[in-house]
Each structure stands twice: as structure tokens, then as C-alpha cells.
């Protein structure tokens, strides 16, 4: 038996140190601090108290349902719109490169900036959206002031901001589909709809998997856009788990908010891991 030289492992070391310092240590520390009452000066062991208290929070159920609703709606819309935009932007239409830049541009803008901008655009009386609707005789809703509409409005803004990335992933996926598949289907008499549904959709599945997983993770842990646009309001109507956790942190319940973060982490893992496995199992075998 020859012993393996340790030399290659030195190349692994920098990445390992960064991963350990920035991921493993904070994750383990989070689990530890979630079992304590802590502040910058001390940490007292609290057992499962923080978890018990978190689950007895009156707005927890609303926050969880909002989180799931938000993640579901934004993932579905980003997936469908991303695919349709990618098909359009690879079809050779006039100004294709310019339009690709336009679609991708919102991805580059700061989320807080987008939130503040849309807060103004969605103002019930002075916002550009309702002013434009009023000009054509439509009485626009209170996008962010109506409790039953606020979260959906934030979701629409998140889709606007994130659909560029989904489109980019789909464009990359579409470019890997050989033209022969389309030509063979055309000879077989496929209509445009059949080409899309029977050829494009199944063959672009790996991109769909990526878009769904990324959108879902982003949706489940979303905080900044909700906070910039509604701060979880009106009332608690647009609170998501992350904003509930942040409010607990603001109120000085650091151990409680850490427990909330651990629960959010587990929730994301429990939803995304089996979904990713299922989506990957459906992936075609080239």
C-alpha cells in the first residue's frame, strides 16, 4: 500500500477554512444559542424554552402560512414567466439582445432600492400605478395598505425583480437543446404548441429544476423586500417567518429569534431537500 501524499489537501485547506468559519461554526453556534437566553455579554442555558415560546407565538401560524404562500406564488410565477420570456428571447425577435438586458436589469438593482421604489409606485393615492389606472377610469386598490393584498403585491414585486435570473437560466437551458429535436418534430407534424409542450418543456427540465429550487429557497427566506415595502404590515398581514424573527430580535429576544432561525433553516431543508430529490429524479437522461 502506498500512502497518499498530503500535498493535494493543502489546496483544499483555504476553502475548508472559509467554509468552516463562515458556515459550520455559525450553524453550530446558532443551534447552541437557540438553547440559551443570550445577549452580547452572557448566555444562560434555557433548554427548549425558546422553541416552546416560538411555537406559542400568536402570529407564528400566520407568518408560516404567509411564507409558504409567498414562496409558492413567486416560484410558480418565476418558473412560468421565466420560461416564456426565455422562449421569446431566443426566438430571434427584433432587439433580442437589448430585451435580454432589460429583463435581467432588475436582478442587478438593490432589493431595498426596489422595495422603496415600489412602495412609492404602489402608494394608494399618489403612486404612479394607481394614477395610471385612474387615468383610464379604474379605481386602483391599496396595493400595500389592503391587508388581503399586501403580501401578494410584495410577491409580484419579487417576481419582477427575480424573473430575470430565471430567464437567464432558461436561456442557458434552451441553448443546449439540439435543433434536430425540433426539426424531427416538425417533420412529424408538430404544431407550435406541441413543439413547446412536447419538446421544449421536457428537454429544458434541468433548468426548470434549478429555477424552482432557487426561487423556493429565496421565497422561504425572504426578508429584505417585505421589510422595505410593508414591515410585515398592515398589522401582521404580510409578516413572513423572517420578519417575525427580526421583530423578536428587535424586541431583545435574541435567543428566541435564534431558535426561529433554526426552525426556518429546518423548514427550508425539509421542503427543499425532498423536492430537489424528486425534481432531479424526473430529470431526463441524455
Amino acid at each position: 500500500m502506498t500512502q497518499k501524499s498530503p500535498y493535494p489537501y493543502w489546496f483544499f485547506l483555504p476553502a475548508a477554512v472559509i467554509f468552516l468559519g463562515l458556515f459550520i461554526v455559525p450553524t453550530v453556534a446558532s443551534f447552541y444559542f437557540s438553547l440559551t437566553y443570550w445577549d452580547p455579554f452572557e448566555a444562560r442555558f434555557a433548554g427548549w424554552d425558546n422553541y416552546v415560546q416560538f411555537f406559542s407565538e400568536p402570529f407564528l401560524i400566520r407568518g408560516t402560512l404567509n411564507t409558504l404562500f409567498f414562496a409558492f406564488v413567486t416560484s410558480v410565477l418565476k418558473t412560468i414567466l421565466g420560461l416564456l420570456l426565455a422562449v421569446l428571447l431566443t426566438s430571434g425577435i427584433f432587439g433580442q439582445s437589448f430585451l435580454r438586458s432589460v429583463v435581467f436589469f432588475p436582478v442587478l438593482v438593490s432589493t431595498i432600492g426596489v422595495g422603496i421604489l415600489f412602495q412609492e409606485l404602489m402608494h394608494p393615492t399618489e403612486g404612479a400605478i394607481n394614477v395610471a389606472l385612474a387615468a383610464i377610469g379604474i379605481d386602483g386598490p391599496g396595493w400595500l395598505t389592503n391587508p388581503s393584498l399586501a403580501l401578494f403585491s410584495v410577491a409580484l414585486v419579487d417576481v419582477w425583480r427575480g424573473v430575470g435570473l430565471a430567464t437567464l437560466i432558461y436561456i442557458a437551458g434552451l441553448s443546449t437543446i439540439p435543433n434536430d429535436y425540433y426539426e424531427a418534430a416538425r417533420i412529424d407534424g408538430a404544431t407550435r404548441w406541441q413543439l413547446f409542450w412536447r419538446v421544449t418543456v421536457p428537454l429544458v427540465w434541468p433548468a426548470t429544476t434549478t429555477v424552482i429550487i432557487l426561487s423556493l429557497i429565496g421565497g422561504l427566506r425572504l426578508f429584505d423586500l417585505v421589510w422595505a415595502m410593508t414591515r410585515g404590515g398592515p398589522g401582521f398581514s404580510s409578516d413572513v417567518l423572517a420578519s417575525v424573527i427580526y421583530k423578536q430580535y428587535q424586541a431583545g429576544f435574541w435567543g428566541l429569534s435564534t431558535a426561529g432561525n433554526v426552525i426556518l433553516f429546518l423548514l427550508i431543508a425539509l421542503i427543499v431537500a425532498p423536492l430537489a430529490w424528486w425534481l432531479n429524479s424526473k430529470e431526463l437522461d441524455a
Binding site: 439540439p178 429535436y181 418534430a185 416538425r186 417533420i187 407534424g189 408538430a190 419538446v199 431526463l284 437522461d285
Partner: protein
Amino acid sequence: MTQVSLHDLRKSFGAHEVIKGVDLDIADGEFCVFVGPSGCGKSTLLRMIAGLEGVTSGTVDIGGQDVTHAEPSKRGIAMVFQSYALYPHLTVRENIGFGLSLARKPKAEIAQEVEKVADILQLGPLLDRKPKALSGGQRQRVAIGRAIVRNPGVFLFDEPLSNLDASLRGQMRIELTDLHARLGATMIYVTHDQVEAMTMADKIVVLNAGRIEQVGTPMDLYEKPATPFVAGFIGSPKMNLFEGRVAEQQGCDVYGIRPEHLTVSDDEGRWKGTVRHVERLGADTILHVEAEDIGTFLARIEGHRSYRPGAVVYATPDPAREFRYTSR
């Protein structure tokens, strides 16, 4: 009756004309092979017949109908692609039945048709496999099955064997020839491999730079090549072609003699040369000979002869098999 007729067919990409006026008639049930070097326009011509490539001018008639501007699916054709174009997410059964399912045929009818084709191509045990679980030859057969199930008047093949290894190519050549005999359909086959063309075709169309150089049976092209290009392209090893002084001595611009039509002797002959390289093929031996007065030429001799590089040999052309081309 599914004859195919092309009339003054032209195709340009911008200012660049790639098909420069092709007139061709392919009879019903004929196995016609388009052959030529890379970039000669043979695949473009096939795609124009399929309707996958637009026509700049001229007409395409299939079965007596002008289909120049018809959709590919309305031309009564089926095509086998070089890449096979098998859908990786579908089983063999679904791939073969794909066209029928697009046409919304009843499931029972699709199943029956697929089984029939699977019997013809011996694909029965593979019907529930995905393409990734098939060998190259099996994928090729599935691609052919997908074409057969459409029951087309004309089969189009675009270099279908080029992804297979040499022995499988030989086997598939025989299978395709048998299939043609069984189906009796018109087949148009594109290849850059003159061996495929010679062994499979009823009619060979030699293309060069977007034009037809010559049309004929394989033996026509071998025995009476109309141009130096055809002479050099058809036959393996290639015909020896000489220009300049050697051709002038023969009273022409290009003088040609096939390697197998040279008699090689150790003692005497028209050209004296030195063996530079020996290819031993078992049944034949090919000598690469360098002669002072004419340059390098190939000579093919039957069986195994113990020539070594450096040996001096004499070669004499068979006078009945010489070709002389003049550009006038």
C-alpha cells in the same frame, strides 16, 4: 408513385450561393445517394427536399406534387438525422410512436403500428428502454423505426452512420439495403463516404461546390467518371491524377489511372520509382511509389508482396483503363 424531381433548385445564404441550380430526377423506389466532400451542399440539398431549409428559387416535386413551399409534415417524407434525434425522456416505444401521438391517433392504433415496426427492426425487447440504455446501432434502428412508422413515400437519411464505428457501419449498410429492398420506398441518403455510396446506391449524385458533377450508377461513376473531381472522389484508394508535364505527354490537361489498373513489376515497366510506404491490407497491398519523372502515385497489387520501403519497382498503366480530361 413517389418520384422526386428537383428543377433548377438554388439556395443562397445572403450573397453566398450554396446550391447553384440543381436538376435531378429520382425514380420511385430508387436508393439515391448524395455524395461529396464537406461543404459541397449535399446536406443543404436534402434539407431543402425535407422542407427544413427554404428554397431561393426552383421547385421540389414529390410524388408529382409541387411541394416547394409545403410544410415538412405535408411532403410525405420521413427523415433520419445524423444525431438520431431520439427524445431522451421518452422510451423507444414512445419515440417510435411520437409522430402518431402528435397526430392524435388512437392509443391502440399507435401501439399496433409501433409493434409492427419493432418486428421489422427487431426492436421488440428494447421497446421500454430509454435511448441512453441503447447502443449506437440500436439507437440508429430506433431512429429508422420512427421514420418507418410514418409510412412515408420518401425516406431521407442525413449521414446516419457517421457516428458508428467501422464494423457497425458495415452491418448497418447491409441492414439499410435490406430494408430498402423490403419496403420498396424511395430513399435519399447523404454521405461523405464514397464506400457507403458505392455499396448502397442504385444511383449516386456526386456534388461539388453546390453543383452536380455527375449522376449515375456506382459502376458508371467508377468506370466512366465524367470529371477529374468524380474520378478522384469515387474509388478507394483514390485514382492517381496527374497534371502538367505528365498530362501534356498524354495529350490532355489531367491524366488519371486507378491504383488497381497499374501493373507492378520488379524488372520493367513504363514508370520507374522507389517504394516509399507499404500498406498491407491482407487481400491487397498498396504501394506509395515516388517516381522521378511523374511524382508520387499509388499502386494496388493483389495479395501480399514483400516490398519494403526503398525497393525499386516499375509500374505500367492498363491502356484500356486510362482517363484523359481536357478543359476545352
